[in-house]
């Protein structure tokens, strides 16, 4: 009798569980898994959205890896890799330094809110503002540069576009990492600092021997999501009007072969390859993390 009752209760759990998990499962299957399966399938075909896909085998991938012909994709891959690594590292570095400063200021709370502000703001609107900030004739930054004697600096000249975009993206992105570091710093037990100060460690040494190891899980997390996110950056470049400047980003390449053109199969091959690449970056980051992150209190 007892046994039957327990089983009945457990069945109830399964029933409610199934009911409660139904929406997210349906969403995952319909809007994530089916598109991915479809992408993998289309990457082996020739598809123009009007006629049925024609199986082409690995022809799309052969074309992608034909380095002599497909130069644009690999060039933009190199560019986006540089962009993502620099933005992620700068966000982490600036975030850590500013979080340390916030911790030692009494008015830190006020600064924290101000510094976090760009993170919640619309990318389109802030980018529109920056596009005028970066105006080489009337923008305030070029006025500042003229004041120090640099005339006619073009922010979107091919050689300058990367630094300009990196600065803008760090401006809009370091708030998140700074805030997470601030939270992580508060969790470091104070006896570690007391012990260090009794042992006569200076502030630099304390930072590298205590603060940095203690926040290493946060650093790992930030580098992971920073790299994965910035490798897929799109909105900032599009909103600032660089969509004509194709060597910048791999996603423009990808989109350039998709929307409005007829090479959807090839675009899907690019997308699948690029997605795998981002996945590998995340995986390597995970595997390397055990050598330098520290989860002990």
């Amino acid at each position: 009798m007892e046994k039957v009752k327990t089983r009945k209760l457990k069945n109830h759990d399964a029933l409610w569980g199934a009911a409660f998990l139904a929406p997210i499962t349906a969403g995952m299957i319909l809007f994530v898994l089916i598109p991915i399966g479809y992408a993998v399938y289309l990457s082996f075909t020739k598809y123009d959205m009007f006629n049925a896909p024609v199986w082409r085998g690995i022809a799309n991938y052969q074309r992608l890896f034909d380095l002599s012909k497909e130069t644009q994709f690999w060039l933009s891959l190199k560019n986006v890799a540089i962009f993502a690594v620099l933005v992620s590292l700068l966000n982490v570095f600036i975030g850590l330094i500013l979080a340390n400063m916030l911790k030692s200021c009494k008015a830190g709370g006020v600064y924290k809110v101000i510094l976090y502000l760009p993170t919640v703001c619309s990318v389109v609107a802030t980018t529109a503002i920056w596009s005028w900030m970066y105006n080489s004739d009337y923008g305030p930054i070029s006025a500042l540069l003229r004041f120090v004697g640099i005339n006619g600096y073009e922010f979107f000249a091919p050689a300058h576009v990367m630094p300009s975009m990196i600065f803008m993206c760090v401006w809009g992105g370091f708030g998140g990492s700074m805030f997470l570091y601030f939270a992580a710093l508060k969790n470091i037990p104070s006896y570690l600092y007391e012990a260090a100060s009794i042992d006569g460690a200076g502030s630099v040494r304390t930072f590298f021997k205590i603060t940095f190891p203690m926040v290493s899980p946060t650093t790992f997390y930030l580098l992971l999501i920073g790299l994965v996110g910035n490798l897929q950056v799109y909105s900032q470049f599009l909103a600032i009007g660089l969509d004509g400047y194709t060597p910048v980003l791999v996603i423009f390449c990808y989109a350039g072969h998709g929307y409005g053109t007829t090479t959807y199969g090839y675009a899907c091959a690019m997308g699948v390859f690029y997605g795998l690449l981002v996945g590998v970056v995340a995986f390597v980051n995970f595997r390397l993390s055990k050598y330098w992150t520290n989860y002990d209190v």
Partner: protein, 316 residues
């Protein structure tokens, strides 16, 4: 060029002077530790912190202030060198809100209209899933959780084109806001993680008390767990609403060219990418676009900032 040299030299001189002071005090510290604590540990460092933080805060605020000042300028004043308007006009705001070609007000309404249903229903379904994954016991629960966790790591870029083809061919949803609304209603994995973490923190006795009082497991959720988890749900709702309001890629791909369906982000984008840019109007539109996010963040920072810690604590 001379000015640049003078400025760099001044900066270098200040830095050298600061480091020399610190180093000198540090040397003295060997003989006088108390002195060191008081001077090096506190005074110069704190002042340096305030100086740097103020400088960074100015750099953060300046583009916003600049946009605000520019939005009050007249069209010819935009190209002046003075950052303050010669004459304050609010004409630009009136124009962007009421002009039948810009339709910013309609865009605002559309943005809110498209962002609300996925947030309200999505947070609800996510809470339900989080409840099932944390407080119900059935076979395969942890496997389902692992699979959901794995989907977070899939880069969205793979699905960009196939999703578009799917929405266009299979569902026929392109040129309508449905692709922005329907997927969000099913819930999101990150929200599930956050709420699962929250629900794991609630005492188990609550469920047992509810069962003893004759509630079903679903009743426990709706009558006990949900009322208790509203702060966490509100935080996720605000974050999701802000994200939906700020979404740019979704509307850009799916809304198409029908201006009456534009979101506010698309409106600003179409203004900013037009051939003839009227900067003062674009800036007024930007200020209006940014205002809801900034107001929401300022008044509910506790929720915005609190929820990002919990998600990070889970993954890190």
């Amino acid at each position: 060029m001379y000015r640049l040299i003078i400025i760099v030299a001044t900066v270098v001189a200040v830095c050298v002077a600061y480091f020399a002071t610190v180093a000198l005090l540090h040397k003295k510290e060997v003989t006088d530790k108390v002195m060191h604590r008081r001077l090096v540990g506190k005074f110069p460092q704190t002042v340096l912190c305030y100086v740097v933080l103020t400088a960074v805060a100015l750099m953060i605020v300046f583009p916003f202030l600049y946009a605000l000042l520019l939005s009050f300028k007249t069209g010819s004043d935009v190209f002046g060198t003075n950052i303050f308007p010669e004459k304050f006009v609010i004409r630009n705001y009136k124009t962007v809100l009421s002009d039948s070609d810009i339709r910013l007000f309609g865009g605002l309404l559309n943005s809110i209209l498209y962002a609300l249903p996925p947030c309200l229903i999505g947070v609800m379904t996510s809470t339900m899933a989080a409840y099932a994954l944390s407080r119900l016991h059935f076979k395969g629960r942890d496997q389902i959780f692992a699979v959901l966790f794995a989907t977070i790591c899939i880069p969205g870029v793979i699905t960009l084109i196939p999703s578009y083809i799917m929405f266009a061919k299979l569902y026929g949803w392109v040129d309508s806001p449905l692709p922005l609304i329907i997927p969000g209603m099913c819930g999101s994995v990150t929200v599930i993680f956050f709420l699962r973490q929250f629900l794991l923190g609630l005492p188990k006795e609550l469920d047992e008390a509810g069962i003893i009082d004759g509630l079903s497991k679903g009743g426990v959720f709706f009558r006990i767990i949900m009322p208790l988890s509203w702060p966490a749900m509100l935080a996720q709702f605000l974050l999701a609403f802000n994200a939906g309001y700020n979404d740019f890629m979704g509307p850009l791909l799916y809304i198409g060219s029908n201006k009456s369906l534009y979101t506010v982000q698309l409106t600003v984008y179409s203004m900013a990418s037009a051939n003839v840019k009227q900067m003062e109007k674009i800036m007024a539109a930007c200020v209006i676009t940014l205002l809801p996010s900034i107001v929401m963040f300022t008044f509910a920072q506790k929720y915005f900032l609190g929820s990002s810690i919990s998600v990070e604590g889970l993954k890190g």
